[in-house]
């Protein structure tokens, strides 16, 4: 991996005094032969030490600190604003990315994502970014334009890969905490994730209206807030709670919860998991994780009207 070509290649350093080599010549009387000698002049030049400040911030999602390094203060400001509420400090981040900003281009964000794993190196590509991440060294490089949605996509992919190895996952679902318990509301676009988020009572804490973050702990599953937003365009709260139930959303003419078969539960979870990699081992790991999840977390169908009374059934 070409980490040397990091975003901060503009850092340079001349710590030693510069030696300027000059020459002069004279006629040697004895042989009348023109020779030259080298005269070394050490000039008292000011130290040419100029360092472009490496700007960093740590974004913590799902309790996993990721340090992002950039040399561009404006982009740093964009990112800090984008991930407000999810920034933190860590001397030992689990992942560290250098950003290599590229000139603006017309490459579409909706181009297909390619995620491949070769010889210990993940390569993540889309029209608007090209990233590499080496889990063993915890380091990576993202080449992208100054578009925060590009790094957003990279972070989602990397988190999905990390979670896949730990029995957790990212899910296309809204999630919220009520009475100390977390609930997920899964469904494709139009199923009602944003609607049910809008209908949440004031005492409920919204974790996300679009992409939920689920980690497996010894005692069960825990849902975390994420900055990944949907139509609501509102960042989730950076808090977590034990996951109590997953509801598969369906819009209808009444509010009701129905039990579903284990097979339907597994299919519902699999249909909503975000996973991008073409990697046999991780796909099988995610597959196994889903079956473990449905054996431990109640999965039900929630049919609802666009009416806040649906929340009387939850919590």
């Amino acid at each position: 991996m070409s980490q040397s070509a990091s975003a901060c290649a503009r850092i340079w350093r001349f710590d030693s005094p510069i030696q300027i080599r000059g020459s002069s010549c004279f006629w040697r009387a004895q042989s009348a032969t023109r020779v030259s000698i080298i005269v070394v002049l050490v000039l008292p030049l000011p130290q040419l030490t100029t360092e472009v400040e490496r700007l960093s911030f740590v974004v913590v999602i799902g309790g996993i600190p990721v340090r992002v390094n950039t040399c561009d203060p404006e982009f740093l400001s964009i990112l800090q604003n984008r991930y407000a509420g999810f920034t933190g400090h860590s001397d030992e981040p689990e992942i560290e990315f250098d950003i290599d900003l590229q000139p603006p281009n017309d490459l579409a964000e909706d181009a297909p994502v390619e995620v491949r794993h070769t010889h210990g190196l993940w390569t993540l590509k889309r029209g608007d970014f090209h990233a590499e991440w080496e889990p063993a060294s915890r380091r990576g490089l993202i080449r992208q334009t100054a578009n925060p949605y590009s790094i957003d996509a990279v972070l989602r992919i990397v988190h999905s890969l990390v979670l896949a190895g730990q029995g957790g996952f990212l899910m296309h679902s809204a999630s919220a905490i009520r009475n100390g318990k977390a609930f997920l509301f899964a469904g494709v676009s139009g199923a009602g994730k944003t609607t049910i988020s809008r209908l949440a009572p004031p005492e409920a804490t919204l974790l996300t209206d679009e992409i939920s973050y689920v980690r497996r702990h010894d005692t069960g599953y825990v849902a975390y807030g994420t900055p990944f937003t949907g139509e609501l365009a509102k960042l989730g709260e950076n808090v977590s709670a034990p996951l109590t139930a997953l509801y598969l959303l369906a819009q209808g003419k009444e509010n009701r919860i129905d039990a579903i078969s284990a097979g339907d539960a597994a299919r519902g979870v699999l249909a909503n998991i975000l996973f991008f990699a073409e990697d046999d081992e991780l796909v099988q790991s995610v597959f196994r994780s889903v079956f473990e999840f449905v054996s431990r977390v109640p999965v039900m169908r929630l049919t609802f009207m666009p009416d806040s009374r649906v929340w009387e059934l939850i919590g």
Binding site: A262, G263, F275, E278, F287
Partner: protein
């Protein structure tokens, strides 16, 4: 009619739940669900037992169906699943490596 042999593609993840077999392709994360009959065929796809024998011993003994009709349907299913690359088919026995699709 030549014999047909089937083997599970090792690049898939599979799990039986409530009598259904769920299979996910690692190639494109497509999910397949097999009904009870197809699940029997999947679980019997060991690469060495001819399809005809599987139909005779596993399908015809459990379902009220004529062997010839069952074999015709089974062959069509096997070729369909092979088209999705979750099953391998051959007219000779298939050697399977470790990790071939979990048939639990």
């Amino acid at each position: 009619m030549s014999k047909l042999f089937m083997a599970r593609n090792p690049r898939v993840a599979a799990r039986a739940l409530d009598g259904e077999m769920m299979i996910m392709s690692a190639k494109d994360s497509t999910l397949f669900t097999l009904n009870r009959t197809a699940t029997i065929l999947w679980q019997s796809a060991d690469g060495t037992t001819p399809l005809e024998e599987i139909v005779q011993n596993r399908i015809c003994t459990e379902f009220d169906v004529e062997a010839s009709a069952a074999l015709e349907d089974a062959e069509k299913l096997a070729r369909d699943l092979a088209g999705y690359e979750i099953l391998q088919i051959s007219d000779t026995p298939i050697q399977q490596g470790k990790g071939s699709g979990d048939s639990r």
